[in-house]
Symmetry: C2
Subunit: 616 residues, 2 copies
């Protein structure tokens, strides 16, 4: 085996890799994160690197297709395609800064409590235990505790026994016994009954939100949100399933990643709130079926193959110890139930939070995300389908796309015959995020730059106001709109919206819109029978409803019928955390939702093609 030196900038780390390895695999094997949204299949540009020293290998066909001639000539390559045969030095794109990531965490407006009657199911009883005094006793520490609190030895979690003798003797026999139902989770020295906390976790394909709540008042103690670290192995579900497929080692990597992140969240929440991890006794987890299975280490291979069967659907309850989650080892970790392979606990949580199952009128919930879902129904019946939008609205597979971080163009308007850009944090423009993309396309549709099929029109440019006209151009075979030139909005280089970018957004919005259209079709519900449309999801709140309507992302309802409901999946997790009756309602919801499989439906193809186009 010949090895060659591969140096990765900016870290400056040199790896000695087998000649012929792809840069992406070599970097991942060495624990260096390079994002690979498509799973390293040459289908996107996220893993691109720039070769800055050494012999630059010839471009592959994928390099040409994805990066274009100009970038290829500058030394850019897709690291998933690029095999090293001689010593090279490459510049890895620095990852997006998580800390400024504009995602809707679990936060609610000031003073807005989680809308449930609190009944979390965690009880703490303070008792004084009489210890055996003489040696002929026939008892044990545990039996002495049970004498005071009731129950049988089998009710006690073995973990609670490890430190029992010391706890029992620290305060003359006074202990606090934490229980969940009849299960004894923890036996603590002295009186700790005031300390009861819980964690609600929403694991999305792209982002993960954890919220620490006090279990008596519902008070939010702290919240943490991050990008899902599994994304380096694939941005969408199918890429990630392909990575895990039939390879226990890869599945283990995905599982370890997400558990590692959750433990980082626990650390951050503990630090921010001052609440010790041992006082976290209950955890609720929502996420789509794939995230659910990967977190549990369940082989997701067949989630990606027709008929897309999940391995399990019931509301699993584990101990934190079993999941290697560093809260109280016997904390109950409650997974919300699943409906189908692509309609997961996150969809159930959206229904739970929006109470769609309780209202008489028909409503629609659209949860926008890399793996979105659409729900439709009322207390009489609920339908749900998945809307595999892909990560375009999160900035992936878009030429100058980026996540909604500092410097992202998040709003676009037409003013004085030219584009007016707004960036997050009013910082220098670095790229464009989902809400900016939707705005830009809506504005360009209104101006006639883009036609209803999504084509950038070059034939009638003279009808445009001159400043806008100057932005529409064709380079080589590629049509594009220059959103920002160097110097505009602080940009240091051109920020473009290409014809391909528009196609990506069309695929994305087509998935969501056709999901809603299909459910309406299956349920026989025309637009005028829809009482309300709820926009949910991490960045739902940052989206312009008017632009979303203009591009046909959502059904053509009156604007007054549309409202933001924020991160409803995360809210659902919090409700199930604070209320056992709500958690049990989630089970009833999961059982009652009718799953509509889009691809299997004979009318789907027509509806999807129709939804790909923009409203005329």
């Amino acid at each position: 085996m010949t090895t060659v030196a591969l140096t990765l900038l900016p870290a400056g780390r040199t790896l000695h890799v087998e000649a012929g390895s792809s840069i992406l695999k070599a970097a991942h094997a060495a624990g260096v994160d390079i994002e690979a949204t498509c799973g390293g299949r040459g289908r996107c540009t996220s893993c691109r690197v720039k070769l800055v020293a050494g012999a630059i290998p010839p471009p592959t066909i994928m390099d040409e297709v994805q990066l274009g001639d100009a970038l290829v000539r500058e030394g850019y390559r897709l690291s998933c395609q690029c095999r090293v045969s001689d010593a090279v030095t490459v510049q890895v794109s620095p990852p997006v800064d998580d800390r400024t990531f504009q995602i809707l965490g679990g936060e609610r407006p000031e003073g807005a409590p989680v809308p449930v009657r609190i009944e979390a199911g965690i009880a703490k009883a303070v008792v004084r235990v009489t210890l055996p005094a003489e040696e002929h006793h026939q008892t044990s520490d545990l039996e002495a505790v049970l004498e005071a609190v009731g129950g049988t030895p089998e009710d006690c979690a073995p973990e609670a026994l490890k430190t029992l003798p010391a706890a029992l003797r620290a305060h003359g026999g006074e202990v606090t016994v934490a229980t969940f139902g009849s299960r004894i989770l923890s036996i603590e020295a002295g009186d700790t009954h005031l300390h009861k906390f819980g964690l609600a976790i929403d694991i999305g394909t792209t982002s993960v939100v954890s919220t620490l709540l006090e279990l008596e008042s519902g008070e939010q103690m702290a919240s943490a949100s991050s990008l899902n670290p599994q994304a380096v192995f694939g941005g969408d579900l199918m890429s990630r399933i392909a990575f895990a497929q039939f390879d226990a080692g890869n599945l283990r990597k995905l599982q370890t990643r997400i558990i590692g992140l959750l433990n980082q969240h626990v650390e951050a929440l503990v630090r921010d709130s001052g609440v010790p991890a041992k006082w976290i006794y209950k955890v609720t987890i929502v996420g789509n079926t794939c995230m659910h299975h990967m977190l549990l280490g369940i082989d997701p291979s067949h989630l990606g193959l027709a008929p897309y069967a999940p391995v399990m659907r019931h509301p699993l309850v584990l101990s934190a110890r079993e999941l290697f989650l560093k809260v109280n080892p016997e904390a109950r970790v409650c997974f919300l139930p699943i409906v189908a392979g692509f309609v997961g606990a996150d969809a159930v949580a959206v229904a739970l939070a929006t109470r769609m199952d309780e209202t008489p009128e028909i409503r629609i919930a659209v949860d926008i995300g890399t793996n979105g879902e659409v729900l439709l129904g009322s207390r009489d019946h609920l339908w749900a389908c998945s809307a595999p939008a892909g990560p375009a609205l999160e900035g992936a597979q878009i030429r100058h796309g980026m996540r909604a971080a500092m410097g992202a163009i998040d709003r676009v308007a037409l003013a004085g015959g030219d584009l007016a850009l707004h960036t997050i944090g009013d910082a220098a423009a670095q790229g464009i995020c989902g809400s900016g993309l939707i705005d830009a396309i809506a504005v360009l549709l209104d101006a006639g730059v883009i036609d209803w099929t999504g084509l950038i029109e070059l034939d009638h440019l003279d009808r445009l106001p001159p400043p806008l006209r100057a932005r529409v151009t064709k380079r080589g075979e590629e049509r594009m709109v220059i959103l920002a030139r160097p110097g505009e909005a602080g940009a240091t280089q051109e920020i473009l919206l290409t014809q391909d970018d528009i196609r990506q957004v069309q695929l994305c919005k087509g998935a969501i819109a056709s999901g809603a259209a299909m459910l309406q079709h299956v349920a026989g519900v025309p637009d005028d029978k829809v009482a309300e449309l709820m926009l949910a999801g991490g960045f739902g709140n940052y989206l312009s409803i008017r632009s979303a309507l203009r591009i046909g992302l959502i059904p053509a309802l009156a604007e007054s019928k549309i409202r933001y409901v924020g991160n409803a999946a995360a809210l659902g997790a919090q409700m199930a955390l604070l209320s056992e009756p709500e958690r049990h309602r989630a089970e009833r919801i999961a059982r009652s939702i009718e799953h509509v499989s889009l691809a299997a439906h004979p009318d789907f193809q027509d509806i999807f093609v129709d939804c790909m186009n923009f409203p005329r």
Copy 2:
């Protein structure tokens, strides 16, 4: 911090240790095993090393007391007491070779099955599962399996889900479902119903025996036995508790050691039998309370403090995964129940195996071991007490003591006016083991060399036959009997029986004999009411009953009433493994045994002093 080089022979490894560290601690910290029977307190000689290069530190008072002047002058030191301040090289005593260790494993005589009707509780059902065929399905792999075998999703161990999809599709839906009660442990591809195995484990203070059994026939597939690797941290329970006391790190070391050994046993059994570990679905574990708590990582501190309360006593059932035991991850690990702090699951297993709880006549069982137990009773009532014999009969704390390994003097007789020695394997004599010690003392008592108080008589040597007379001597203040001179029985150096050795055996046999005497006293059972005395324990079978009677190790019953029952604790574990009714009988036994605390009894002191002496 100044570091100095410490080189350990025979391994030749050099450690750089902090100046002033004890050799024992430095070696343990580096993962080098040096046995420390007393827990590193300078109370025994097991951790002695010989300094062969470098500056030899002056002896401590403990060196002088334990090793004596001669050894100290030869460069021997107790490694627990010896602090290094300059570079030194020391010779560590090579450990006893485990492989020739003559301990009674789980083996029974050819053709002697475990005496139970087999009903292990593990069931395997072969079913053909119908998988969902179309995409509108509302089911999951697990639900499809449950349709075929019955039960609820909550019955299924989460671990069984991880590989379920592949198993379900490997043989067209044919799977074998392994259950224990209603719990689904494993779902396996194809028909595996013929493969059902279990593991019975007996964890003693000094030795550990594991036996692999087939769960339908009871056939023994393989057996493994080893020394308990915790012994390096203390040979008896109290030393080991002291090591663990209030120090979670030390407790963790003890736990890790024993789990590591059990996994080595699993590996060996798998290798010897060809049975894959995944087909081991049930494990039973017996051991004294301290071994039980340490295996579970339960703080044993208060086991060593009056009133010696155990932390729990009930029959715990865990998954193998929770214990990090590398059999089927969901195998049920069944701990037999406990009676009291010093009467553990091993005593319960002895009662189970001997069926003392079922017979009308009164019987006594003496389980000889470092932490022995005595049981007395019938179906009407059972009493039990602990007999903390210490490790003398296992060769520890005896000048030339050794375990029952190759070359140990295991039988001693008087022939032709001189001692006649037998060694294990007829190998060159290296030292003396427990059965040899008991024989030697019995012979010397008969010959009048030792009087009833245990003193080596020097005043009336002329009454002895000359060859024996020449063996009795006094060096300095120390009386001793020369068992073997260089050349005799192949010995390369003198093998001595010192006055101190005799005192150690007296302490040991005093503990056992007074246990039996106390139970007889408490229960009001004179010798003539005892129908049978059963000698149990790892080396019970190698003991001369006549010698045991002669030295008063056991009550003075007719020899015909005494029989060997072998390693009854290990047999009890096997019975509970093969039979759920037997396992449940163990629970009833544990609840019915009356624990007699010797030390707390007002008459104990007199009885113990009496039992220390030899029968006149």
